[in-house]
Amino acid sequence: MKDYHSMKDAELIGAAAEGDETAFQHLVKRHRSWAFGFVLKTVRDPEAAGDILQEAFVRVFKNLAKFRMESSFNTWFHRILYNLCIDYWRRSGRRIHMEYDDSLAFDGKGVGTAGGYDATSPERNNRRKEVVGILEQALDSLSLEHRTAILLREVEGLSYEEIADIIDCPKGTVMSRLHHARKKIVSFMKRYGYVSSEI
């Protein structure tokens, strides 16, 4: 009996391409959670994220035979997800117009400092939620290109080379997009009073 858990992605893909349904199921199980997280953060709509993820795995399935074993499934799958997110944004004509949310404004209590307060306190949890809320609004204010670049780096932890491969552009463009994305995020956080030293 095959030990699917110990099989590498390329091995699972090879087996799936040969008709091993269980291998494909394991591949889906292995990559579903992070992929859902990435898509959800990108499109910010759980239903759309679910649909995109389903379509992404269908595309993987249909192209099992085309996968180059020497390449990374992670990068390949990210590229599929990225393209589907782009399609979704274009198809839905999604435009996010941000409005200032007073409830998120910094009240001067030292949000998210590196130390000095109880890490498990309700106050800290609330602050963390606020930071997440502001970050989500900041991300919504970015163009899709800047948004995906920063998510691929900060959330997915990919290298510049991998990001360049996924979004199909030079590394210099990745560097530039990340710079502008971070600048805008910092600007957004400052607007809410979350000065950088207080995070």
Partner: protein
């Protein structure tokens, strides 16, 4: 420092934070950093945004249960041309993958192997007669013999036949192309020309292996009994059809 140079240096903050600078570039950037308070302040702000993302990453995300997700996905993996339910002897995945290949019926229809089709038809008549006799005698041992005889006469096909366990089946080779749609009742099928009293046939299941496709279907006889027919490919000098 002109604006272009300033922008270029500022754009090095991200690769510096992300560990994407070469050792030489990193040393040069850190030298600039120590001499430029504005650049240093911007770098600190970028670090802060990275710390905020650490909080963002740690957020738990609700996702549907895997079974639910997989069931929905499995349904999408079945293309319209692929029959359901799948035979218990075959893999759904295999069927779908094989469905991309030209079907047996298409290849038969192309006339590439007309002689084999004719031979199959002749076999069908012979085997049906054997199978029908077995059925009327209602003797499972006779049916078993008929099946064994069929197997003996068509040795290249046995590997497919034995993959259909269950009730004893009368095995008949017919040349007529059945519809590829399990569960579908076909009135007055071509196979009825061979089985004079049959008025319909039901595709029961399909199985695919390598380039070959086996179809199991049933012929409803007028006396209410069913004859199970297993459509099998015939090999010709190593080529499966």
């Amino acid at each position: 420092m002109d604006a272009t140079t300033k922008t270029t240096i500022e754009e090095s903050i991200s690769p510096w934070l992300d560990g994407e600078l070469s050792s030489g570039d990193r040393a040069a950037f850190e030298a600039a950093l120590s001499n430029d308070p504005a650049l240093s302040a911007m770098a600190e702000e970028f670090k802060a945004s990275t710390r905020a993302f650490a909080v963002y990453r740690s957020q738990k995300i609700e996702e549907p249960p895997f079974e639910e997700f997989w069931n929905e996905l499995s349904a999408k993996l079945v293309t319209p041309a692929v029959p359901q339910p799948v035979s218990d002897t075959g893999s759904l995945l295999k069927l779908i993958l094989d469905a991309r290949k030209p079907s047996l019926w298409e290849r038969l229809a192309s006339g590439v192997f007309p002689a084999l089709v004719g031979a199959a038809a002749a076999l069908a008549v012979v085997f049906f007669a054997t199978g029908r006799a077995s059925r009327h005698e209602a003797d499972s041992s006779v049916r078993k013999d008929a099946m064994q005889e069929t197997r003996a006469m068509t040795p290249p096909l046995n590997s497919l036949l034995v993959k259909h366990p269950g009730e004893p089946k009368t095995t008949v080779n017919v040349a007529t192309k059945p519809e590829i749609a399990p569960g579908k009742i076909i009135p007055n099928p071509d196979v009825a020309n061979i089985v004079a009293e049959a008025d319909s046939c039901i595709i029961e299941s399909m199985n695919a292996e390598d380039d070959a496709i086996t179809t199991v279907f049933k012929i409803a006889d007028t006396d209410g009994s069913m004859i199970t027919v297993i459509w099998v490919p015939i090999e010709d000098e190593g080529t499966s059809i």
